[in-house]
Amino acid sequence: MNEEILAEVKGVSKVYKVRTYLFKKISFYALLDVSLKVRKGEVVVLLGESGCGKTTLGKIFLDLEKPDKGDVFWFSYNLKSLDKRLYKEIRPKIQALFQDSFASLNPRFKVKEILSEPYLINFKSSKREALEKALEVLCQVGLSEEILERYPHQLSGGQRQRVALARALITEPKLIVLDEPTSALDMTIQSQILTLLKRLKEIKGLSYLLITHSLPAALEMADRIVVMYLGRIVESFKKEVFRKIDHHPYTKMLLRAFPDPFSENPPEVSTIKGEPASLLQRREGCEFYPRCPEADSLCAKERPTLRGNNEYQVSCLKRPFN
């Protein structure tokens, strides 16, 4: 197979504990039995509302969180049994870009230090080499040399996000996890960053795991879109089939409710029922049941599983495959 798998999670679950009252703690599942692959050259988009577990899944892909159940693979090595030396070697190949670049850039470092630090650590190079490399990635993200001498607070939001991206690029990664990379930016800057990400992907053959709640950004960037609801994947499809398939009722609700400024059709709000349930109180049967317009009595009892083919997988009793 020429479809090289860069990173994969298999049957991953993540439990968090919250303190409710003094010493009383309750635990809840932020992720439940999630499996997902990112292939070489592919942009996978995780789409979902707040609290659906998309950021947690991103962190598990980055090995910033350990799953409580299930396995994580990088370049088909299982992280559980990976020895330290090899881990160090492949760690720089998977990088991250977060929403708030102000929080992720060291305020006491100049841009040149921010950029060269990961290079010095990972490649044991000389300072001069690191600086040359820093200049190279800075050009790739569309910034000029004078930025090197500045501190993060002297940069605009768009420039900061570009610096954070340059820092991710300096270790020559294969996969970048982008967690809401544009949602803190103004519209015009957003589109610049998205365009830049697309161009870099073409030039460098990168893959992205893009986490977002923005439907237009998802459609613009994605090869595959994965929709999450309450810690589970409810649907996963390739972008080519986006218009052709009978979507999961939740995705349908999102698509109908989305106010598209350049479409002829106003958003349909009447189809929205209720609010997402709490992660603390899980129910039997399908989790979307209370809000689903298509549900019947079977949905209340039986839990659907994610089934389908390479192009389209869905977790719903009212859809094919189930």
Binding site: M187, H213, L254, F258, I272, E275
Partner: protein, 312 residues
């Protein structure tokens, strides 16, 4: 007759004399939803605050009038403005958690509104509170009365905020990014609520946002703000069919999936800014005139105003 009229409103930093809002003029018609579109720092929120005389410390009014019911709010005593604020003109913000008092129950916060503006207390107030909560679509309001803000979901909190804002049946509601912090489905439910208040009670709304989709389907008329000035005013359909100002066009083309943005990167190269046009440095059509004099907001088509030399 316009319900609210803003004339040449100019606000700036007291110490340095630097202007932030530069001569904002517009009017709000009865039962109208007026959208204000702009990026961060364009002055859209400051406009909302200055209508109600809520300027942050350090800023002051340099010029202008805010005319409401034949009075200039900027000349009124604080005591008199207090009678208008929250009663005739209400405001809601993006983050309801920071606008609600965390140590008061919903009932206590809402009773305050009725007591202060209408002098209604106790049982009588409770009846009104329950009615208002029902109006904003909160199911079993009796049960919610004893809740504290942190016990409510984001959507419910924003509904409580709206309930407090409409408690005294105001004429105008200023909504400053009221749904930005909410998820899509909840966002649309809150918008639907505001729309029904507009249609059923004739509430006029000034709606501030940077979300094109929301303005397209929610506002009747749109003002486009940039660097403290209004660049374009048009009825919503007109603006989306035929945007005139180069900035509005850029905004629309920035929307994901609209255009390939290769050309956008060129526009970021800054020109030396010695011009009178606020958009000169980033304008694709930058013209010589804007180096000589200031472009004026001009009506180029019926009810479609634009501030650009291309249309003079």
């Amino acid at each position: 007759m316009a319900l609210l009229k803003i004339k040449d409103l100019t606000v700036g930093i007291k110490q340095t004399g630097e202007k932030i809002l530069k001569g904002i003029s517009f009017s709000l018609n009865p039962s109208e939803i007026l959208g204000i579109l702009g990026e961060s720092g364009s002055g859209k929120s400051l406009t909302a605050l200055s209508i109600l005389k809520l300027l942050p410390p350090g800023l002051s009014y340099f010029k202008g009038q805010v005319l409401f019911e034949e009075k200039n709010l900027l000349e009124l005593e604080e005591r008199e403005v207090n009678k208008i604020r929250g009663k005739k003109i209400s405001i809601i913000f993006q983050d309801p958690l920071s606008s609600l008092n965390p140590v008061l129950t919903i009932e206590e916060q809402m009773e305050e509104v009725f007591r202060y503006h209408l002098g209604i207390k106790g049982k009588e107030a409770r009846g009104l509170i329950i009615r208002t909560l029902k109006e904003v679509g909160i199911s079993d309001p009796e049960f919610r009365l004893k809740n504290y803000p942190h016990e409510l979901s984001g959507g419910l909190r924003q509904r409580v905020m709206i309930a407090m804002a409409i408690a005294c049946s105001p004429k105008i509601l200023i909504a400053d990014e009221p749904t930005t912090a909410l998820d899509l489905t909840i966002q649309m439910q809150v918008l639907e609520l505001l729309k029904s208040l507009n249609q059923e009670k004739g509430l006029s709304i000034i709606f501030i946002t940077h979300d094109l989709g929301i303005l397209r389907w929610f506002a009747h008329r749109i003002l486009v703000f940039y660097k403290g000035q209004i660049l374009e005013i048009a009825p919503t359909e007109k603006l989306f069919k035929n945007p005139l100002h180069p900035y509005t066009k850029l905004l629309f083309n920035s929307y994901p999936g609209r255009k390939d943005h290769e050309d956008l990167n060129l526009w970021t190269q800054e020109r030396l800014d010695q011009s009178f046009c606020p958009f000169y440095t980033k304008c694709a059509m930058a013209c010589k005139e804007s180096l000589e004099r200031e472009p004026k907001l001009r009506e180029v088509e019926p009810s479609h105003f634009v501030r650009c030399f291309l249309y003079e």
